[in-house]
Assembly symmetry: C2
Homo-oligomer: 666 residues x 2
């Protein structure tokens, strides 16, 4: 016969709180300035009115900001807040029975039916007097006590009615509610607030060693620095470098992944570590700590963030191997286990054994790799194959690092099974590579982008879309010619607020695979130094610069969540819109997915949903060409020629900014 230890009179139920990830086990993600719209099912037994508040604080702080919740329909309530600062927030919901609201509601009914009695007013007077006792300001207490006294005076219901129904009374009673029996939602729900760049970023990846005077000359950070204006002028804001550490000599791979390196072959930057040093060292041919610092500073001057590649694997000559033998798997013959995908062997790479008896020492050391580079000025890390390292390590390491450095971002390079990719996002990765490279048809694009932008997945998984990478030269790019590169760039950059390209291979349309059926490049930069002709006439540089400028000027393209696909009557025409939070900036994209033929058809827009006039024409400006159009009604004609431009980016006539719902800045 055990009665609950807790208060049994907390009668309000709170359930179904959104957003939340796995019941609060993981944080939802936002960027600085973003809105968090919270909803919950809130109700009580019987017919009593309820009231509810959303409580928000900086994680760990004792100071909570309270935001009254408003009822929607079907027992659903909502309130919103805007996150102002980097770091972690927490939110929870409080709800309680509002006896005064019940009384007031019932009194209105009684007044309407003329069944109100003196006793009804006396009941109200008791509640008002109690509220006076809770008042924190003397004039309020005074006013409420006067009101209670007036309701208790000898008078008829008709005389008492106006006293009981003033707006001032309602206002003050809302200010001093009776919250003795308050239900609190079961678990504080966490929010991670990242820099805006987590939501909106344009990445440019290049190999610094390929920036020398010729393919025979190993480029340095000083050479790479000269590349930065080229990247900045194209409108990118993140420069991402493959690993910059010393490259192993043992079992070094030659050009085109040849198992036998020739003398002079530069090796793969992902075969990390040599006598020169490991993950905290710089490959001497690239430069020094100082020249890397100079590179970062030069990038910063151009408003470019530098992203570093962190690949937790080692070459056989990495110092870890000698210093921490037990971080690697030993084979019965005394050798260390190299990487394998049987029957393939990768003797140039030793994977780290996360079941090491010294896992604590290992975790600390790997974490210190990040903090080392953070101290050197790096704020973004592209993490190589995080899915081949233990999940608990990532959750711990990212959590620890972001506690100290909430400005740091982590991009997960996991091209693997969906649940694995989503888990990495849940445990802390700020952005994630996606299946975008292999979504080339209309159906596939709509299905995948809808999943990532319109379902709960978006609360923790931020897609970063790449048409190519040094590992991925898709068949579409191999075979589709220049138009294929244009289309994939336009899709990556207008479907996703975060995107990137591996250049200059991309803008120069490098498209020959090492062999048919492979997605590896012929003469891949992973294994050799290349020299790129950046001024080549066929370069897509002008188009990329144009699109990036449009992205930078239009908030509609700086978020993922507003993406909506629209009907077209042609399977090769993909139509979608995006808009800014205040709805003043609305862009309509129409892309021709066919890289060979002109395609035309009608697009159908949901005018009401988009806030467009049903009975008047509206103007559209193609931001790529400057041409203007006037459309009328939902159905309009479009025609696109693949050799010319991949599609339209139409800005619909500017509209006044919508009133964004009142929010509280915490």
């Amino acid at each position: 016969m055990t009665l609950p230890q807790t208060e049994g009179r907390n009668r309000v139920i709170i359930e179904g709180i959104t957003p939340q990830v796995d019941g609060g086990r993981f944080a939802i993600k936002r960027s600085v300035g973003d809105l968090v719209r919270v909803e919950a099912d809130i109700f009580t037994d019987g017919h009593d009115s309820v009231a509810a508040a959303l409580l928000v604080h900086r994680e760990g702080s004792a100071q909570w900001t309270e935001i009254p919740m408003e009822p929607l329909v079907n027992d659903r309530w909502t309130a919103s807040f805007r996150v102002k600062d980097l770091g972690r927030y927490g939110y929870k919901v409080h709800a309680w029975v509002d006896h005064f609201a019940t009384w007031r509601r019932d009194l209105q009914k009684r007044i309407a039916a003329q069944t109100d009695t003196r006793v009804d007013y006396l009941i109200g007077a008791d509640m008002i007097e109690a509220a006076a006792g809770r008042a924190t300001v003397e004039p309020d207490a005074h006013w409420l006590n006067d009101c209670a006294a007036a309701l208790r005076a000898e008078a008829t219901p008709i005389e008492l009615r106006p006293i009981a129904t003033t707006a001032q009374l309602e206002h003050l009673m809302l200010r001093y509610p009776d919250r003795r029996y308050t239900t609190e939602s079961s678990r504080e729900l966490p929010v991670t607030v990242d820099p805006v760049r987590a939501r909106f970023s344009s990445w440019y990846e290049f190999f610094p060693r390929s920036t020398g005077a010729s393919a025979d000359v190993h480029g340095t950070f000083a050479d790479a620095e000269k590349m930065l204006p080229y990247v900045a002028e194209m409108g990118f804001n993140v420069v991402y470098l493959p690993p910059i550490h010393p490259i192993g000599h043992k079992f070094r791979k030659g050009k085109n992944n040849n198992p036998q390196a020739e003398p002079g072959d530069c090796g793969s930057p992902w075969a990390i570590g040599s006598a020169e040093g490991g993950h905290k060292a710089i490959h001497s041919q690239l430069g020094t700590r100082e020249s890397f610092g100079h590179f970062i500073a030069a990038a910063r001057d151009l408003k470019l963030s530098v992203a570093l590649d962190i690949a937790f694997q080692v070459a056989p000559d990495h110092p870890y191997v000698a210093q921490h033998e037990n971080w690697f798997k030993k084979r019965p013959d005394g050798t260390i286990q190299y990487a394998e995908n049987p029957p393939k062997k990768y003797q140039d790479i030793y994977p780290i054994d996360f079941e090491s008896t010294d896992w604590k020492g290992l975790w600390e050391e790997l974490k210190s790799v990040f903090t080392y580079w953070i101290d050197e000025g790096v704020t973004i890390f592209r993490v190589d194959n995080p899915h081949t390292k233990a999940f608990p390590f990532w959750e711990w390491a990212i959590g620890e690092i972001k506690r100290e450095h909430p400005e740091v971002l982590f991009l997960s390079e996991a091209f693997t099974r969906p649940k694995v990719m989503y888990r990495l996002a849940k445990i802390g990765f700020s952005q994630s590579y996606t299946y975008f490279p292999w979504r080339n048809d209309k159906e596939g694009l709509i299905e995948y982008l809808t999943e990532t932008s319109q379902t709960d997945v978006r609360e923790y998984f931020r897609p970063n879309q790449w048409p190519n990478t040094p590992d991925i030269l898709t068949e579409f790019l191999q075979t589709g010619g220049r138009a294929a590169f244009m289309v994939r760039h336009m899709l990556a950059s207008t479907l996703g607020a975060n995107y990137g390209i591996y250049g200059p291979a991309f803008e120069l349309q490098e498209h020959v695979p090492i062999r048919e059926g492979s997605e590896e490049y012929l003469n891949s930069e992973k294994y050799e130094i290349r020299n790129w002709d950046l001024e080549k006439g066929t370069s897509l540089r002008p188009l990329i610069a144009k699109v990036n400028a449009i992205r930078n000027e239009n908030p509609a393209l700086q978020n993922d969540w507003s993406l909506r696909f629209h009907y077209t009557d042609n399977p090769e025409l993909l139509c979608y819109s995006k808009e800014s939070e205040d709805r003043s900036n609305l862009l309509l994209m129409v892309v021709n997915l066919d890289v060979h033929y002109t395609q035309s058809g009608f697009v159908t827009l949901p005018l009401v949903d988009l806030g467009l006039p049903e009975d008047a024409p509206y103007d559209l400006e193609d931001l790529l060409t400057g041409r203007t159009y006037q459309w009328t009604g939902p159905r309009n004609y479009v025609e696109l020629h693949p050799s010319h431009l991949p599609g339209h980016i139409l800005r619909i006539q500017p509209r006044p900014a919508a009133q964004v719902s009142t929010v509280t800045v915490v």
Copy 2:
């Protein structure tokens, strides 16, 4: 720099476990003998194989039963168990990296590519030797050690291959897995196991006071006992009685809810309590503890369970009012607050105040009402308006009662908003009234029944479908004539495994409302004694008996979850099927929703899903008429006449029982 206190080498992730209700906050519900099919997303980093087990126990027991989980697709795993006993079970998932499975898989690939080396076998030998150390049976340890030694012998890979790939080795390695680094799912998930009657029940409600010789004579339990064979012969298995307690005299309502009772008016059984006693007393005109006990015993002999109505509200003369004044709300004028729905007043009823300072005393007393009647032999309670009493009370009371009496069932009579109804089910009510009375068209029926039988709702919410109750005479029944009663009975009893009728009003087609637009009966039994002519020629008794017999003989109709709707080309024809767990019993229902006109059309069956031949005819027997049909292909013609029968209950030719997946009885 805080490292986790827990083991960092538990590399396997377990998430998305189903079934679960609100993350394990509430129990899923099953009946004795039911299957629990558990699924979870299970994966680890990298390419290692994983293994997983479902662990089940009686709640609180230290003894766990382990069931190996099997992979499905996309990192989803499953295992099932069958619950044997009443009470509470708990389940959780364990998963670990299976290095031996990884080794074995990779070895197969190496053998195929002829790249296997002696070292590969030595690695296996180490694992096998370690397993020998874990063996709990000497011969197994011996065998494994021998095997390890054989793999370590001087021999070529070709010689070692057969030793490493025997089935016996795989078998023994599965028996002694290396589970040092095991991930456990975050929370034990609870299961409530109820009697089979929770899943399959046929309720008959009647007023015992209406079983006297005439409407002028107050019936007794002895009279009511004579009604039991009538009910049993109709095939019901639950007899439900409105409250049997003393009826209040103060503000007693007269016939047809007249605010002024005439002398001799019997009052409403829901106005509980008088000088005679309260919720633990018996209305003296009905009988005594002894005669009620006799009634229960007589019912039991007929395999009828007796369900009692528990309504936690009191008449002004209920003993609680004097003894526990603080269980009720006091008004400033010293009177007790009666029930209200402003401007309507119900002065004959005092609601209980769940914000009483003595809420602990109140909870204990209310719980003791149930235990009192359980001690008297009652095992089922129909709870009146549970949504007007505090949720925390129900969760506590039902939890406590079911801990002692897991055989007891609670039916929630809450006709209110959906989230409130579902919450009551989550916190413990075994069955629930539903919106079924007001779902009369095809679309509404399909939508609602799909929600309750095919979504997660079914894990905790068991619908009990009533075409009528003493409070609900729907417009459909008022205006549809005899056919309307037939249709609603057929729908209630074949759509839902749990259903009930309020009789004899139902079978005698009582259909006149107190006034137009009301769902209240004219001359309602709630306020007066009625005398029913059970032998009336137009009674639906034979049809009801027939349908109940079909329900009792066909397991397909004894579950809700197998319900599937099928396409018909006529909006008045509703077609659906149900089948037994082993699929051997398959019934197809076709109902004419139009109570006025003959309707005909084609039904389309998904032959493959139903296990029916695509290229051969199949036989159907109408269990209502005994007529047989032979159909071919998916599309067949049906014609139904409302005056004759409401529909078909077609048993499709018996099929061999399917192999029900191997399950472990716990």
